[in-house]
């Protein structure tokens, strides 16, 4: 896990996002415990409260559950929800690409063509 101190994005957010990616990618199995809050704080050289806030955010998003005195374990990931999460990611990336295209003065057709080209390249690989 990589934490950037001066990226402008809050550290708890960076931690939550990286766990989220790992959980959605299946790197943490259902029922598996995340590292202990204070153990992770020690490893990442950050405060306990920052780690705790990251875990609480994951809990609020329904990805993990807090077990009294035992830490946080990973919930069963609903496949519908998983797909929803991935779709949102695709949407975000495409929106970002559209914004960049606008700055570059690309027309809609040109943008579509580029996407089609990229898709066909991947198909041929």
């Amino acid at each position: 896990m990589r934490i950037m101190q001066n990226s402008g994005e809050p550290i708890y957010q960076q931690i939550a996002d990286q766990f989220k990616t790992d959980i959605l990618a299946g790197k943490y199995k259902q029922g598996e415990y995340l590292p202990s809050i204070r153990g992770l704080a020690k490893e990442l050289k950050i405060s306990v409260i920052t780690t705790m806030k990251a875990y609480e955010q994951l809990e609020a998003e329904g990805l993990v559950t807090a077990a009294q005195g035992k830490g946080f374990y990973v919930n069963a990931q609903d496949s519908e929800m998983l797909r929803e999460q991935h779709l949102r990611k695709v949407e975000d990336s495409l929106t970002e690409a559209m914004a960049a295209a606008e700055i570059a003065g690309m027309g809609d057709r040109e943008l579509m063509e580029m996407l089609e080209t990229l898709l066909s390249i991947r198909k041929n690989e």
Binding site: P10, R38, G39, K45, T50
Partner: protein, 301 residues
């Protein structure tokens, strides 16, 4: 958020000539590192000495480990066994040699582990040799005396460390090590150990501060978990031309030739609507400085 406390105090009051400590309520969360922040003379050392049981003349009640009263602290050895205190100067007698420090510590505290004490002295390099039983306390620099006190508390099985300005006399490398030591201490017994320390070096200690208490002239003026404080306050920057107009909506404001910078309560952000401002999450240092400035201005009228 866990809501149990390692220290709960009520009505703490102490008066000196020209100074009054007045703390209606103090709660130190269990399982976290709490920083006590404030200007010189704000009363940090007085408060820590009262908590540690060094200063015995005061009014008020203190509850330790959700179990013991401050009377128990003087009568039941367990309370002091569970607490480690480091002073801002040095509490070891200057002509003692390290072996005497070790011997007297093991007489005072039954949970003092001699070998662990030596290991910490070696690891932190107290003095040139790390561990030289014949070295005198008086021959140690301020930084090394602080390391010696830290080694003294780490050599014991405690649940709470009370540290008065532990970072101040240390060099940058050792300050970094101190932060590591604090995290290791907390992680070794998940949720059961707590630290309460005062500091002027907020930036150096920020990544190890969970809860912050800010004092001004003997009173607590702000406190909270750092992540909550960073949402309560916002760092705002804008054009110099707007500085006068936004000043009332801000908590503190510094204006220069090229623009203004200030701290604003997040709930007051709407007062800045219509102005070209950018906002940022403030650091604990920025919040602390703003709070101290704000309240010392309030006190002066």
């Amino acid at each position: 958020m866990e809501n149990n406390y390692v220290i709960e105090a009520h009505g703490i009051w102490k008066k000196y000539k020209g100074f009054q400590l007045d703390i209606p309520e103090l709660k130190i969360p269990k399982g976290f590192a709490t920083a006590l922040i404030g200007e010189n003379g704000a009363g940090k050392t007085t408060l820590l000495s009262i908590i540690a049981g060094i200063l015995l003349q005061y009014r008020g009640e203190i509850r330790y480990f959700d179990k013991y009263t401050d009377k128990d602290r003087e009568n039941i050895p367990d309370v002091k066994e569970l607490m480690g205190y480091t002073a801002s100067g040095s509490y070891y007698v200057a002509h003692w040699k390290l072996k005497e420090v070790e011997k007297i510590s093991s007489v005072l505290f039954k949970g003092f582990h001699r070998e662990r004490f030596r290991q910490w002295c070696r690891e932190m390099e107290v003095g040139a040799a790390g561990w030289d039983p014949k070295q005198k306390v008086s021959s140690l620099s301020d930084g090394n005396r602080m390391k010696l006190m830290i080694a003294g508390v780490l050599a014991r099985d405690t649940k709470l460390l009370v540290m008065d300005e532990p970072a101040s006399p240390l060099d940058p490398v050792m300050r970094d090590r101190l932060c590591g030591i604090i995290r290791e201490y907390l992680a070794e017994d998940e949720g059961q150990r707590s630290i309460f320390f005062s500091t002027h070096n907020i930036a150096d200690m920020e990544n190890v501060t969970d809860y912050a208490i800010i004092m001004e002239r003997g009173k607590i003026v702000e406190q909270g978990f750092v992540e909550d404080l960073k949402e309560k306050y916002l760092l705002v920057k804008g054009d110099a031309a707007d500085a006068e107009k936004v000043r009332d909506g801000l908590f503190t404001c510094d204006c220069g030739q090229y623009g203004f910078e200030g701290i604003c309560l997040s709930e007051n952000l709407d007062k800045l609507a219509g102005f070209q401002v950018s906002t940022e999450r403030p650091s604990l240092t920025q919040i602390s400085v703003a709070v101290m400035k704000h309240f010392s201005k309030v006190a002066k009228g």
